[in-house]
């Protein structure tokens, strides 16, 4: 189709319907040029390369099928799973409805218990706050607990610019950092690497394996690789003066923060250094201590497929004689309030970062996380990233789903991801200022499908295309776009001479 771009009059919006665009109600989205929320290619382009990578496909297929089975087993043994899920959903909805009040209460409680609370409008401000806090301690290295928020804002790069080295301590983050790679999964950022590839990275980069006398005996066994990471990080933990973490939950009523982990690297960071800096998105809040009873059941079973993860640390401000004596909490917006302004899309803020939706997603399983271009991949990333950045900065992501619905079923807080995807597609389409060929086609089709007379004409026209098939049961495979998208891999049946409704009318006469 070759249609000159033209402006069209949009259908008037209903009163109260949010305007499309990158900033709802004028609320700013996450700034460009900092952090990792935007890819440099569209999803279909990035996916095309990933789909050809047989090793990647094998690694992802193996890992996701392993975790799917584990999750199904431990969820299956909880008789009140659906009740917990609905409680989790309601708790998050309630939290968002009073988010300002809960944040103020959290600040009050943390401050009362000896912590300091900082507010960051966006990634740049959060990075500046953390950098300043680290510099104030006089150290030039920090240890980090895996945290999506700090990945999102590009904190490691900001620290590096200030001459501060950040050591990732989560095994998967370490693999990514040592391999000079990018995370591809929320829970297991190195899911795209298999044991042999990890072994190669360790042997190549870890100081313990360098030099003429080094013992380079490292079998590609998960246990031995984990041991190598233990050796690599042990000394760093013991000498660290500053740690940076994220938070899985913060309790407004008590000022308590919680980090859920497996390896003990989190405990090392949260316990040994003198100073702890926690960067947390403003949506991670829960109103009361009791609310944790729901989420500490939902999260581990949904994420690692365990009844409970090996370690959960909870702390409130500063405890004299136990753990860091200086505690800073950085509360991060970075587009979250823009998400909150969208009555449909705000449900994405309920996410507890378990990754269950990634692990069940047939698209993620085949394309991997890098195709999404954001630190938040998979189904939740496809609804979260475009909202944090403004949908036009991640316009291909809402379409990166077949809307199969497996993510919604797996989500422990019942986020209706398919509906949000569809909603964001609408936001994207309505944000277009110029008419695309696709829009022309859909508008024309809309006209036809709204009027039986036009529809029958359109059907007849479609039927005429059967002449292209020249008597064969399928259409030619060389057809122009967008049909070529179909015919490259699938035959297209030749349309029949008569539609069903025509045949029926011929047999029965017109019916109403």
């Amino acid at each position: 189709m070759t249609t000159a771009p033209e402006r069209t009059e949009p259908t008037p919006l209903a009163p109260g319907a949010p305007k499309s665009g990158t900033t709802f109600l004028g609320l700013p989205t996450a700034p460009r040029g900092v952090g990792h929320l935007r890819g440099d290619r569209s999803f279909p382009d990035a996916a095309r390369g990933a789909l050809r990578d047989g090793q990647l496909r094998a690694n992802l297929g193996h890992a996701t099928s392993t975790i799917r089975a584990k999750r199904a087993a431990v969820v299956g043994e909880v008789p009140d799973w659906e009740q917990l899920r609905q409680a989790g959903k309601a708790l998050k909805t309630a939290t968002m409805a009073r988010l300002d009040e809960h944040l103020v209460e959290l600040e009050r409680q943390v401050t009362a218990r000896g912590g300091t609370v900082h507010w960051a409008r966006d990634a740049n401000e959060a990075n500046a706050i953390v950098t300043r806090l680290v510099q104030a301690t006089g150290t030039d290295e920090v240890v980090k607990v895996k945290s999506m928020a700090t990945q999102e804002i590009g904190l490691n790069e900001a620290l590096e610019d200030a001459g501060i080295t950040a050591h990732e301590t989560d095994l998967a983050e370490l693999i990514v950092q040592l391999g000079d790679d990018a995370p591809s999964h929320i829970l297991v950022p190195a899911i795209h690497k298999n044991r042999a590839e990890i072994r190669e990275i360790f042997l190549r980069t870890m100081p313990q394996f360098q030099g003429p006398d080094a013992d380079r005996d490292l079998p590609a066994e998960p246990r031995r690789l984990a041991m190598a990471a233990r050796t690599h990080l042990r000394e760093r933990f013991l000498r660290a003066r500053v740690a940076i973490s994220g938070a899985n939950f913060a309790i407004a009523e008590t000022g308590t923060l919680a980090v859920v982990e497996s390896e003990g690297n989190g405990r090392m960071c949260l316990t040994l250094p003198q100073t702890l800096i926690t960067v947390m998105g403003i949506e991670k809040l829960l109103p009361t201590w009791q609310d944790l009873e729901v989420f500490l059941q939902l999260l581990p079973r949904s994420s690692t497929g365990e009844r409970m993860n090996p370690y959960t640390s909870m702390w409130t401000g500063v405890t004299p004689g136990d753990g860091p004596q200086e505690f800073h909490l950085v509360l991060l917006d970075n587009g979250r309030t823009a998400v909150l302004a969208d009555e449909v899309g705000r449900e994405a803020l309920h996410c507890i970062r378990c990754s269950a939706c990634l692990n069940v997603c047939p698209v993620y399983e085949r394309t991997g996380g890098h195709s999404y271009g954001s630190v938040y991949p998979g189904p939740i990333g496809a609804v979260l990233s475009p909202q944090l950045t403004g949908v036009e900065d991640n316009a291909s992501l809402p379409y990166a789903s077949s809307l199969c619905g497996a993510c919604y079923d797996a989500c422990p807080v019942a986020i209706d991801i398919p509906s949000i995807l569809v909603h964001l597609r609408g936001e994207h389409v309505e944000a277009q200022e110029r008419t695309t060929p696709e829009a022309v086609a859909f508008k024309a089709l809309s006209k036809a499908m709204s009027s039986p007379r036009l529809w029958h004409l359109a059907q007849r026209a479609a039927g005429l295309s059967r002449f292209l098939a020249r008597g064969k049961p399928t259409m030619p495979s060389m057809l122009p776009p967008p049909v070529s998208g179909w015919t490259r891999s699938r035959d297209l049946p030749t349309p029949p001479r008569e539609t069903f409704t025509q045949a029926w009318a011929r047999e029965h006469g017109a019916q109403s």
Binding site: P10, T11, A14, P15, A17, F43, P44, A47, R48, L51, P362, V363, R366, T367, P398, Y399, A400, S401, S402, L403, G405, A406, V422, R425, G426, V429, E430, E438, S446, K447, M449, S450, S451, P452, Q459, R466, F467, A469, R470, G471, P473, T474, P482, V483, G485, W486, R490, D491, P493, T494, P496, R497, E498, F500, A503, W504, A505, H508, Q511, S512
Partner: protein
């Protein structure tokens, strides 16, 4: 019962034999079938591609076309799911409150074929005969939006002569996804390839499902591979009888010659 048949735009235009089979089946079970002439599309493709404003008049046409129908049956899980989950929402968003209420009422009377047979009519043995080796793909919207569960399997198990073989990883999406199949053609093809591998591993002659759209996708892939395994809609299998299955198994059951044959 007087049943209004919603063929769906796709079936009506490119797979008329599916709607015809649905009608023949319902008539064989003793019901009167009407086909409202004003019907076109449920609006799903527009909504799911982002054209929700443009979907409004399509949905309005659908509501008009089926106004007053006692029960509406459609051989498509995803279109029925759209009628249940999207139509009223799209209308409300456009400020069409009254029409939205009508759409909701209509949705309450709209059934996917297997649900209508098992839940409303209370039959699982529809008297069909289909002497083939068949595997069943539960399409995503039937499975997760409509929760049809094992109703299609109950119906298939009661078909005389039919050998039902279990499809490995049955609940995995086939990769169709409407315009996803074109916008993300590579990923869609990767998903299709795995689905086809599973279908072929069953050595079934026929892969069936409750959605003509997914079947067009799976069938298009199987045909491209010249696999010899074909896709047949659940309605066509259930409409088949001893009299109407042709010896060369081209599955044109219970449909008068000429209506469903492909000819140029």
């Amino acid at each position: 019962m007087r049943v209004a048949l919603f063929a769906t735009c796709l079936v009506d235009t490119v797979a008329p034999q599916v709607a015809m089979a649905t009608a023949r089946l319902l008539e064989r079970l003793g019901h009167e079938v009407v086909v409202p002439a004003g019907q076109a599309c449920c609006g799903q493709m527009h909504v799911n591609t982002g054209y929700r404003r443009e979907a409004v008049p399509i949905v309005a046409n659908h509501v008009r076309a089926f106004a007053g129908a006692e029960a509406i049956v459609s051989p498509s899980g995803s279109c029925v799911a759209s009628i249940h989950h999207q139509q009223a929402m799209v209308l409300r968003r456009a400020g069409e409150e009254e029409l939205a209420a009508e759409a909701e009422a209509l949705a309450g009377r709209t059934y996917e074929l297997s649900q209508f047979l098992v839940d409303v009519l209370g039959v699982t043995d529809v008297g069909a005969y289909y002497p083939h080796r068949v595997t069943y793909h539960p399409t995503c919207h039937s499975l997760r939006l409509l929760r049809v569960g094992d109703r299609p399997l109950q119906l298939l198990r009661a078909v005389r002569g039919l050998t039902l073989v279990e499809l490995p990883a049955a609940e995995q999406c086939c990769g169709f996804g409407g315009t996803f199949s074109v916008k993300n053609a590579d990923t869609s093809t990767a998903m299709l390839t795995d689905k086809m591998a599973n279908v072929l591993s069953t050595h079934a002659e026929v892969c069936t499902a409750g959605d003509a759209s997914c079947l067009m996708h799976i069938g298009g892939g199987l045909s491209r591979l010249r696999s010899g395994t074909r896709t047949v809609h659940l309605a066509e299998i259930l409409a088949s009888t001893e009299d109407a299955v042709s010896p060369h198994q081209t599955t044109q059951p219970a449909i008068p010659a000429g209506t469903a044959e492909v000819s140029a």
